[in-house]
Symmetry: C2
Subunit: 497 residues, 2 copies
């Protein structure tokens, strides 16, 4: 992997001085075209051997281009807010919106590599994280991000020479610490781990670019030209309205026997008002204790409510929140994305609402919109919603890995029950219950939604985040099933620790 980067590449000062002004002007032009078009974001990862010129090169990129439209991020120890959320959250927050360039030092590769060098991680664990990274990067690329991954390299001798040179000069001596020599002693191990990581994560969509960091002129020109070339190519495609696309193999057609998950449900389950009142008190009491328990303090809870219009999501949510302290939960009603959200990958508008420890986030509709309404109404391409299943599974896995309990409900009602509820609502004077033309339109696509729901449940019901189908023609029954499920999932999760 590093063979070419150890050839001892060099660019003379004269060559550099001749090439630099043009490169600089071209980069600046590309940056302004990017900013004008706002069609994609550029994410530049900067990794590599210490002393190979990472910082210098990034500063140079900021000098060459307009630094007002570049966001450079460094990540030190996680802040409290970061530590209480999934590992990737701090990077999700750092993604630039379309039109801008984000440079990420100390990104999602830093910890996995360091931990493996120090043998905190087993090889299998590292590989698992690399798989996650691959899938995450693939998602970014398909969401339209131009992702460039630079590895700044120095040979063993090269690094030694550099440290010696710094030590020799009284003006730079302070820059060399014992730590640096300690790192140097680990050079071979670091190189070996890095080579493995780079191989496993150098995909066709997002290959690593190895930069020989020995000569400052060489590395500057190589980095600048690579970035320029990538931006230009992508801008040209964007100018021709190109979108990153892959063909999705079609899903199997309707099963030949015509049966599906939802048909199998007995949607009207018995539960009388009196029994409901008793059960409500019981399960709300249990949830009240669980959500206030010590064991929950370093966990968090994410509830997802999906269901047809008038399935009773709002009513169920209110029975859940009635059991909890308002200081500890937040309900996120999902409406059309805002302008800031539209400039980011699809999941970004959900990432930003993830709860801290000891808190609950309740999503009234959710990221599953992608494989429900967006699929059925054709708001996104087939390839987009097809890849969403795996992306969502990855996302929820990361939540689970961070100690978040994810509970997902599909509230299922029959077509007749929906009609009855629509008619009832239309008779109501309260505008808050108004039925819109869209509600009636959605109703006409009942079967399409049913297929979408079945695919969703099949493809995203995982061990850590299973779906719960709730028979909801009887509201009382549905609310109790929701409460009971939350309690049982929480109890199981809190016990386990």
């Amino acid at each position: 992997m590093f063979e070419s980067a150890e050839l001892g590449h060099k660019t003379s000062k004269a060559d550099y001085d001749e090439a630099e002004p043009l490169l600089r002007a071209q980069l600046l032009d590309a940056q302004f075209d990017l900013l004008d078009g706002k069609q994609f974001a550029v994410v530049v990862l900067v990794n590599g051997i210490d002393g190979a010129g990472k910082g210098e090169t990034v500063n140079l990129l900021n000098e060459w281009m307009d630094p007002r439209h570049i966001e450079t991020w460094a990540f030190d120890a996680p802040t409290t807010e970061e530590a209480e959320r999934p590992f990737m959250w701090r990077f999700w927050r750092a993604l630039p919106p379309r039109g801008r360039i984000g440079i990420l030092f100390g990104n999602w590769y830093t910890d996995p590599i360091r931990e493996r060098v120090n043998k905190v991680n087993k090889r299998a664990e590292l590989d698992q994280r690399l798989d996650e990274i691959n899938r995450f990067e693939s998602m970014l690329v398909r969401e339209g991000v131009l992702l460039l991954k630079f590895w700044f390299h120095l040979s063993r001798d090269g690094q030694k020479k550099r440290l010696k040179a710094l030590e020799k000069d009284p003006r730079t001596r302070w820059r060399v610490t014992d730590q640096d020599w300690h790192y140097f002693d680990q050079y071979d191990r670091y190189r070996e781990v890095a080579e493995h990581v780079l191989r496993r994560t150098s995909s066709g969509e997002a290959p690593w670019i190895i930069v020989d960091g020995t000569d400052k002129h060489f590395r500057a020109l190589l980095t600048g030209r690579t970035l320029l070339e990538a931006m230009r190519k992508r801008l040209d495609l964007a100018g021709r309205n190109w979108q990153p696309r892959v063909m999705a193999p079609p899903l199997p057609p309707q099963p030949p026997d015509g049966r599906n998950l939802l048909d199998g449900l007995a949607l009207r389950q018995p539960l009388e008002k009196k029994d409901y009142a008793e059960a409500l008190e019981h399960w709300q009491g249990r949830l009240a204790l669980l959500s206030r328990s010590d064991a929950f303090r370093d966990r968090s809870l994410v509830l997802v409510f999906e269901g047809a219009d008038a399935a009773g999501k709002g009513g169920a949510i209110r029975r859940v929140t009635a059991a909890m302290d308002a200081r500890r939960y937040r309900i996120i009603p999902i409406a059309a994305p805002t302008e800031e959200e539209r400039a980011q990958p699809y999941l970004w508008r959900f990432w930003r609402h993830l709860p801290r420890q000891g808190r609950v986030a309740i999503f009234d509709r959710s990221w599953y919109g992608r494989v429900l309404v967006e699929r059925v109404e054709g708001y996104c391409s087939e390839a987009d919603w097809m890849r969403a299943y795996a992306e969502i599974n990855d996302f929820e896995d990361q939540l689970a890995a961070a100690g978040t309990v994810v509970v997902k409900f599909w509230l299922a009602i029959s077509r007749d029950e929906q009609l009855a509820r629509f008619n009832e609502r239309e008779a109501q004077p309260h505008k808050r219950f108004k039925i819109t033309a869209e509600d009636w339109r959605n109703r006409e696509r009942w079967d399409d939604y049913a297929s979408a729901v079945c695919d969703m449940v099949d493809r995203t019901s995982t061990e850590t985040s299973p779906w719960t189908l709730v028979e909801a023609d009887n509201k009382y029954f549905a609310r109790i099933k929701v409460l009971r499920t939350i309690c049982e999932r929480l109890e199981a999760a809190l016990d386990r620790r």
Copy 2:
């Protein structure tokens, strides 16, 4: 202040049961009208004596209304990210957008009161903070926020009775801790401090509402009805397109002798290219060391660049960033506010970009837009920009109090120099230098801008955050003056500690 709240108010269960359904329906209606119109945000502060029913009442409000459009915030110990920014930052972040209700427990009153009770604060310090709070709340109100401040009260006897009753019941005994009895011992002092705080901050725009917390039915109806009444009144006004407005007394006309701050400047200052190169190296070197110094690690730096079109802001900023590590600064180019920003008070879009410790935020145009372009072009009312001077001073004082060094530049060029630069830019092939019709239009209002600049400098050049006027017809001179000023301000600030 608490006299009426110690009368022992009561509402019978029968009366409550009769009143509750209507109140609830009306609140829900008001909430949906708020959500539909998105004309203002509702901020509810909840403070008072422990055990007076704060938590219960807030939970009830969430039950009565649609909790999906209410954000309830509790504030524990500040997170790392909060601790590194101004005291108010965590509350700024919690403000609801227009159309929504935010309920803030443990808000900006909590610390000042607690610190005074524990004698950490002197009376004069408390009063100073209360003045700041008054000005902040006044700003919120003028930005269109409906602000309701509830104080839940219990008499000494009332609190004692409540603690005893909790202790007696085995199911609630655990809720009473030694800490609670310790707080009870401080009751008289707490009441005295609270009374003082409430008097000083009960303004005509945002009066305190004292709620006798003894009887749960009484307090629930009082709180609910107060909120309903306030929302209804405000919704009616909003329906008639009412905006919160005060008449601003006119600023003095042009001084009779026609002189102003800018006229007094010799805009073309000598500095040859060779001397410039030397000075640039000197000051950039100094800034490089300062921004990387240990002393800067628990401080932060905010730079504000304002100036006419083509005054050289971008060029100056690039000379500043060239001296710093890209990982440590962020440039915030101020463009039109996004949809999320427009749903918040004016300063919100700047609050969100404040730097952490050890970091630098560079604003390319800033909150001063309010008293420059918005004033001159009539984008906001006279009353709005008139109050902005004081609001900006408060904002910058809070930055200074949090250890942030604020350095503000007005880059001043002559009308002729601007014309020359416009013509030069129009001759350039690069679109990034394009001159828009708006640039030419702004130019025609040169004198209006000049007046606005002079007022701005007069009214917002404070001891902690003075303006620096930069003679900028000679770009070399301007850039050096900017660099030198930053270095000197930083040195003075870091020395002081």
